[in-house]
């Protein structure tokens, strides 16, 4: 379903990046949580030998857990702000990394005439995600089903 606007611009696709982008934060978050819990548990074992080591391990564990929670949620909230909008006139790629990076990449079909779907490597082919590569080397990574997206974009280019 598409939407026509007073400016005669149709919204064709509203996409979020492929779920593979969440795998790394989940993996690292779990790893940090595990390390934190391990340190807290180890503080109990160290107590009977050295109290100060037990307290240091307890605080280190709590610090690692706190770091893991903040890093994980900031990363997930940032990722939730990434959107790819395809209209019949342009593609807008919006990306945000809290306090670190903000990107609004607008690719107009008036200047771009070709677009390619690139699925590079085993994972990208098996999980069906890849990059949209435009003239001049501009690319939009982690697009789910890039071939279908390119088909829509090419149709939109023809409809201009």
């Amino acid at each position: 379903m598409s939407i026509r606007h007073p400016s005669n611009e149709r919204l064709i696709r509203f996409m979020r990046p492929h779920w593979i982008t969440h795998v790394f934060p989940l993996f690292l978050g779990t790893l940090l949580l595990g390390a934190g819990v391990l340190l807290v548990l180890l503080s109990g074992f160290a107590l009977h030998h050295q109290t100060w080591i037990a307290i240091a391990a307890f605080f280190a564990g709590v610090a690692v857990l706190t770091l893991a929670v903040h890093w994980f949620f900031v990363r997930m909230l940032s990722d939730s702000m990434e959107q790819i909008l395809v209209t019949d006139k342009r593609i807008v790629h919006l990306q945000l990394k809290l306090l670190l990076h903000e990107l609004t990449n607008e690719i107009s079909f008036e200047k771009m005439k070709t677009v390619a779907a690139v699925k590079d490597g085993f994972l990208e082919n098996v999980l069906s995600y890849g990059s949209l590569v435009f003239e001049g080397g501009t690319s939009v990574p982690y697009v789910a089903h890039p071939n279908a997206t390119v088909k829509d974009i090419e149709q939109a280019m023809g409809l201009r």
Binding site: V40, V62, A63, M81, T87
Partner: protein
């Protein structure tokens, strides 16, 4: 940690967790401001307006997901603060 309880350490732990809450509040404030800025930006690109039902549906779905994440974030920070403080104060026998 039987026998290792001390008030200064407890105060340090409470101060640390208060700092953690402050960090969470700061990040959430920055995120909410960015979210409102993003919506204004998308609307200014003339791709959408508040009249578009499909856009609104998708935006609301995204916002619901983001709200759930924000709640989970605050809940996790609170659980960690409460958990670590209780663990230190009561020092269960297995620790």
């Amino acid at each position: 940690m039987p026998g290792s309880f001390s008030v200064p350490v407890l105060l340090a732990l409470v101060a640390f967790q208060a700092g953690s809450f402050a960090v969470a509040a700061f990040f959430l404030t920055v995120f909410l401001r960015a979210k409102h800025r993003r919506r204004a930006l998308v609307q200014s690109l003339a791709i959408t307006s508040d009249d578009d039902e499909e856009w609104l549906l998708r935006w609301r779905r995204t916002e619901k997901r983001q709200t759930a994440m924000q709640v989970a974030y605050v809940a996790s920070v609170a659980a960690l603060a409460a958990g670590s403080t209780l663990l230190y104060v009561f020092q269960p026998h297995w620790l």
